[in-house]
């Protein structure tokens, strides 16, 4: 009873100071040193090199001094309680935060050693390389074909109709959707089931041949069968793409990712091999989270 109480209090009354005490039973260890992350946040062959990243919403500091490498062709999962900044951090990687007026991003963010937030950087080119799949399936109210062909068309990837047909077919095949929809490519995409819609969104994202696919809780609106299907798909895609996935499901993180990053109140607490995070987490906060004491 006593531990329960202190855990709850510590979560609701978290002060915005540099160190955050948690449960009484682990007084010394349960602190977050700002800017320090336990485990292995860095990589030998980084796709993204992120250093001292801070994100502000107006006066609020949503991301507090995070440094992380995301390796080439790895699947990294971001986990953490709601409001911990994992989605905000994800949206920095393809500058989707740009459309929010009050959002400011500081620090060094590099994709293949090029600054993402350079003012001369073409955000269109960046987003063509870093695709994104959203929490809620968001197919355009167009035909299935037009949904997948949308990206290739705006980037001029196909010279002929037949090229475009090939891109659409390949993308749908990679997304495991081709067999289900090949006879009704002209049907409107909003009439599909939720799981199909989400796989269509994945097909749409990979149709522009991105190098990275960001996924923001891609299965949270899907039933278990559709979720399993999307997870299989992530496993297949991981052969050719770098994948960053935000998820609330720890089982999902455990199933699909190579590394797992645990976020807490805007801090990056721990990054480690997924098997290590879920079997012997180094940080007491990570342990509390994955054992279900809060989250």
């Amino acid at each position: 009873m006593n531990t329960m109480n202190t855990t709850v209090t510590s979560e609701t009354d978290m002060p915005e100071e540099k160190t955050i005490p948690v449960a009484d039973e682990q007084p010394a260890e349960a602190k977050i040193e700002e800017g320090t992350t336990v485990g292995h946040p860095f990589s030998d062959d980084p796709k993204f090199k992120l250093r001292n990243v801070e994100v502000f919403y107006g006066e609020d500091r949503a991301i507090k001094n995070i440094s992380l490498d995301i390796g080439r062709n790895e699947v990294i999962a971001f986990i953490g309680p709601s409001g911990c900044g994992k989605s905000t951090f994800l949206r920095c990687l393809n500058r989707m935060n740009d459309s929010i007026d009050i959002c400011r991003v500081k620090g060094g963010l590099e994709l293949d050693d090029e600054d993402i937030y350079d003012s001369r950087r073409d955000v269109v080119e960046l987003r063509a390389r870093v695709g994104m799949v959203f929490q809620k399936p968001n197919p355009f109210p167009k035909s299935i074909y037009d949904n997948v062909a949308y990206g290739p068309r705006i980037h001029g990837l196909a010279n002929r109709k037949s090229d475009l047909d090939d891109i659409v077919e390949n993308s749908l095949r990679k997304a495991g959707l081709w067999e289900e929809v090949k006879d009704r490519l002209d049907a409107t995409a909003t009439g599909m089931s939720g799981g199909q819609q989400q796989r269509l969104c994945i097909a749409r994202a990979i149709a522009v041949s991105p190098e990275v696919v960001l996924m923001d809780e891609p299965c949270s609106a899907l039933d278990p069968i559709a979720t399993a299907r999307v997870e299989e798909l992530i496993a297949e895609l991981s052969e050719s793409y770098t994948i960053v996935i935000v998820t609330h499901s720890m089982q999902q993180a455990a199933r699909v990712s190579n590394r797992t990053a645990y976020f807490h109140l805007g801090h990056l607490v721990e990054v480690n091999e997924t098997s290590k995070v879920f079997t012997s987490p180094e940080h007491p906060l990570t342990e509390s989270y994955i054992t279900g004491r809060f989250g």
């Binding site: 695709g131 809620k136 355009f140 949308y150 990206g151 705006i154 749409r204």
Partner: protein, 462 residues
Amino acid sequence: MQAANLMLLVIAFIVVAYGLGYARSRSLAMPLGGIRHLKSLPFYYGARAALWCGIPALVVLGLWAAFQGKVIQTLVVGSLPPEMIPASPGEASLLLSKISNVASGALPSNFVEAPIAEAADRLQALREQSRLYMSILVVAVAVLAGFLGWIRIRPRLNARSQVETTLKWIFFSCAALAILTTLGIIFSVAFETVRFFHKISFLEFFFGTQWSPQTALRADQVAAEGAFGMVPLFTGTLLISAIAMLVAVPVGLLSAIYLSEYANKKVRGIVKPLLEMLAGIPTVVYGFFAALTVAPFISNLADSIGIDASSQSALAAGGVMGIMIIPFVSSLSDDVINAVPQTLRDGSLALGATQSETMKKVIFPAALPGIMGGVLLACSRAIGETMIVVMAAGLAANLTANPLDSVTTVTVQIVTLLTGDQEFDSAKTLAAFALGAMLFLATLVLNIVALKIVRKYREQYD
């Protein structure tokens, strides 16, 4: 007592009934252990007593006030000596107005025949009697019904459901009133239209290209035969509406796109109300702006580049009308563009589309049905608009597609047909009803199409 005073009295009764009902329900509840032993809150018992008191009394008052005039008239006319009983409705109304003039003292009684003076006295007496009976009856009904409502208050009585049912019917009758008014207008227009087509053939009206409705008022008057071809009027209406839409649709749509996608919150907060203010300017102000500022400007401009332009042009009227209906297009379009889910914008931007590509290829197609609805509503507004056209476009029924010419519209002709001296059953006057019916049909079809489109759009994201 006057009906208005009586009404105030009834309202006072209603308030008293409410208070008494409220008090009675409380006093019934207290011995049981508080108002939670009542089936409903005391408010509902009070309201129920008030409804019992007010509704029958007001219904009686309304019926009496509606029919007393007719009944008294019949009685007065019936009591006239047989040789004076009027033969036609026209004569009857003449006679009645004479009688009531005498009764009100506007016409001295020694100026008229004796039976009429007598009838006037009778009218006066009947009116006073009627007023007295009405007062007694209404007060009696209010008190009696109020008392019945009050005495039947029991703790087990479900006053809430009764009050709510009654209120539901009151709301329904308010809604029905609007519908009945519309139906009434439709029928009166339809009947007159049928009468018009007894005088003028369908063929002439629908396919005639001449419009000059000035017919002779009297047999000895020298005047034209009159021509009732609606083609020039409808082309005029179409020409001016088309010019208005040409102004309003691009400007309105582009400003809606700017406001919803590009403008920041601050700009939007200032510009949107200002734009909507355009719809609040009285049309007569637009009218003299068009007639005194825009039309001369256009005609001078046309002269200076060597084109012949009328001083009253379709272009001036249509252009100013277009400005007036910009807010219809922009406000409705802005709403539907905003209703397109943010996830679609994100999805498109995340694929590397620019803001304008997102607008063109995702948001605009998704919002298009709603935008079409807004445009059609604006269009029916343009077709029905009168004041600007009366002032700026002129009265000449020219069959032309030249926007610099002066044209006239259906609405303008209705105004000129029905203002000034007129004979009610002439083809000229009835033509106004026929034109009104056509206009009504045209805007009705546009509105139905617009509503259909808007409704279809609504289903899309559910």
